[in-house]
Symmetry: C2
Subunit: 484 residues, 2 copies
């Protein structure tokens, strides 16, 4: 993966709820604005009915904290929306505010985390409530990506292509970044490649294929072989010859083959002879697209190039991929073109986590799966109940009691330890008050696992690690602590 | 509504799928890059099983088109991801590309639109495919907002507060903008107020309430009356007196009242005596929050201020709102404080479209409803099957045929007319080829309504309007045509 560029923070300081400012003013007015406070962020339940979540969004939080500053224009706008009675000195105070007094303890980006355990803990002055970096924590789409990864198995490559279905432009960028952390190999989103170094992929849309109608539109009509003869070869004649042989081999009807599709494939192949991977279902895979692909790919092989493969975007992907693979093997054997044994088949057609899981049960020959809508919009559960609560002010624990018992909070600043067994496998995340002594390797301790009624159990960790790290202190990002 | 600021485009030109660039190169290589092409965008089905959609996203599209330009850095990045064989002259060409050759016909932002009718029609050179402004069309969240608006009825005010549940920072901004177009009155998102002039609202979170423990934390402890005596009044003593009277009136137990909550309310009221609207469920609405509110609000009234109301954020909002209103009326009558008759009750607790509709069936006293998660993530249907297809190249109609019949497209550039009856009500959207003559008022025409098998019907419009307008021509935004 390429190094990441240093983008500017994507969240301006006004991107927060108005009440953060009204509260900040009330604290300031009461002279309490420099009091230290601790907030904790946790999830109530794992998404998608699953057994884990992946923590993500830290990168954006840190950019936000580092660059947090109100401009004159920001402050003027706040003056216009806060009540007229607001003391003008408060706006002066805002103008000078930054995050040099914030300490953030967080689990690294991409950590497997569990419900009700605090994963993200900012310590700040109460006046800094507008710094609601917590709204940048995005674990849902990352966890969703991890589930697609598990469903796909380790062999298959996964391509994220959700840009056009995400919530607005930046929703798409966020999704590309966090699905990559969640286990996707590639993205179609060029800006995500530019900003984050994620490998980008993609070749052609149906519109490219349907924009051609005849071979007369192909230009140039020649291609130079990879090695040897410097004279350009008439690739159209060469391909037509291969098309006849392919039709004969497969017993196909030449009359059903779309000339526009062949022209589109040829035109693309001439531009990118080493990167030929067309979408072959614009008309009919079996009667046209596959035959046209084979003809162009065989012509490329004859000139020493290696075609890459095909994309299927509609219909029964499994069945079609098996048919396509069978034709590739036939061509490889019949024409002795071994490059046809390593062609890849990309499948993209409204893939959900469920249809991904079914791919593994049905016979298929799909090497790369592209996922869009269901991945980035998290169709199965489009939001995660993320909770961000005040737990301590001036060193004193604070609690929220609620008419909904599950909305009550556990007071006090917590430490979280991940306990490992003798094989190095984690078996328990232990939350205790920060003032309690940490668990020790080899020493038995009593704890109360959530969901196991109220009786304590004794466990002896072979090893205990601090789950969270200081990732931001004194206005600086701790670069060494950011990812797992 | 305040005038909008002129934000820079929120989508950089690289925020598109890689295949847009590989195709653009292949067109350029074939010398076809200046050929005119027409794309059309439509939805296949209305979202949420409903009967309409609202069109939205045009504003972002136009900003994008207007500022579309590749920087040197963009072009260098493209050079690094496109195959090495790509002709360097292509990158020179990209560097000079802009949207001066694009014409966009679109329905105005906020128009009610229906499935399968093209609402957005860019005419461009084929090389401009990277200009995928269509990915900025966001109708789902806008349509969702309109459904909440319909469910809420015209009386109730609606507050959008989805920032922390949206897809990343800009997902939140997008949602604030388009829910406002869809009928929401207010947003909690300050940046949306700043950029788009949407009225912002909000007062305090539970963390503010729970951060106080005793009346000693209240500072200053005095407030000056609105008119008359310039001497500051001891508001704490005044409120304590009112609290005793309220407890007596309601037969409440003073021992259950949380002093920290009272301190928080007082502290806020001293800062914002004309904007007092606390959240009253941090501990118990009936045993503490409501009593504390009444005491502080009565003290404010005594000093000539007008408290605004309360927010409920948990439990049965309908039942609680009725109880709260009853107490307000009791106070109004018993203490002769008429300001208590116009207090507002804000309800915010995971409101869905369904629970909004149920509000209208159950007795309740909620004046303002705040909606977050279900609004911005569109829980009921988190994506809209938006289709963007090539329909014409060089004046010749193009079609995509598919193994999925519903994925086939209707070829040719279409015009769309909205037909109105004699009362001025729209009754049919008519799509025909642009080359066909337009419908005329009072003249009968034959058409084939979708879903009514294949038999034609005759209709006579009293009026026919062009549904789409030229909103972008020659690199310029047509400002007069943007909204309904």
């Amino acid at each position: 993966q390429a190094a990441e560029r240093e983008p500017s923070a994507r969240a301006p300081p006004l991107l927060t709820d108005l009440y953060q400012f009204t509260m900040a003013y009330a604290y300031w007015r009461a002279g309490r604005h420099q009091e230290p406070a601790v907030f904790e962020l946790f999830f109530r339940d794992n998404p998608f009915g699953g057994g884990f979540s992946l923590f993500a969004g830290l990168h954006d939080c840190l950019l936000f904290l580092r660059s947090f500053r109100f401009t004159d224009e920001d402050v003027e706008f706040l003056r216009s929306v806060l009540p007229p009675a607001t003391d003008p000195a408060f706006f002066q105070f805002l103008r000078g505010l930054d995050c040099s007094g914030v300490t953030l303890r967080s689990v690294p980006e991409g950590t497997v985390v569990f419900p009700k355990v605090c994963v993200f803990q900012p310590c700040l002055k109460v006046c800094l409530q507008p710094v609601s970096a917590a709204s940048l924590v995005i674990s849902l789409v990352c966890s969703n990506a991890a589930r697609f990864r598990l469903a796909a198995g380790p062999r298959r490559k996964l391509l994220e292509m959700g840009l056009r279905r995400a919530q607005g432009p930046d929703g798409g960028l966020t999704a590309s970044r966090y699905t990559h952390i969640g286990g996707f190999d590639l993205t179609s989103n060029v800006q995500a490649g530019f900003l984050f170094g994620i490998p980008v992929a993609g070749t052609m849309a149906h519109s490219y294929v349907t924009s051609f109608t005849s071979l007369e539109e192909v230009w140039p009509q020649t291609l130079v072989a990879v090695s040897g003869d410097p004279d350009p070869v008439d690739i159209i004649s060469l391909t037509k010859g291969w098309l006849s042989r392919v039709c004969e081999l497969l017993g196909a009807e030449p009359g059903k083959i779309r000339e526009g599709e062949l022209a589109a494939f040829l035109s693309y192949a001439i531009s990118y002879p080493q990167n030929f991977l067309p979408v072959i279902d614009s008309y009919s895979v079996g009667c046209s697209g596959l035959l046209n692909f084979c003809a162009v790919a065989l012509a490329l092989c004859e000139l020493g190039y290696r075609p890459v493969g095909v994309r299927l975007d509609s219909g029964d992907l499994c069945r079609q991929s098996v048919d396509v693979r069978r034709v590739f093997r036939l061509c490889s054997e019949h024409f002795s073109i071994s490059a046809f044994d390593s062609l890849i088949i990309v499948g993209t057609n409204n893939i959900s986590e469920q249809s991904m899981a079914e791919l593994n049960k049905k016979e298929n020959q799909i090497d790369v799966v592209g996922v869009g809508t269901h991945l980035v919009t998290c169709t199965k559960q489009p939001s995660l109940g993320c909770v961000y609560k005040l737990v301590e002010v001036r060193g004193r624990p604070r609690m929220k009691i609620s008419e909904d018992p599950q909305k009550s909070t556990v007071p006090g600043r917590k430490s979280v330890y991940r306990l490992l067994d003798a094989d190095g496998h984690p078996f328990l995340d232990l939350a205790c008050l920060a003032v309690e002594s940490p668990p020790e390797a080899g020493v038995s301790l009593r704890c109360f696992p959530l969901g196991c009624d109220d009786s304590p159990v004794s466990v002896t960790p072979a090893q205990a690690t601090c789950l969270r790290q200081d990732v931001f202190t004194k206005g600086q990002v701790r670069r060494d602590r950011l990812t797992t």
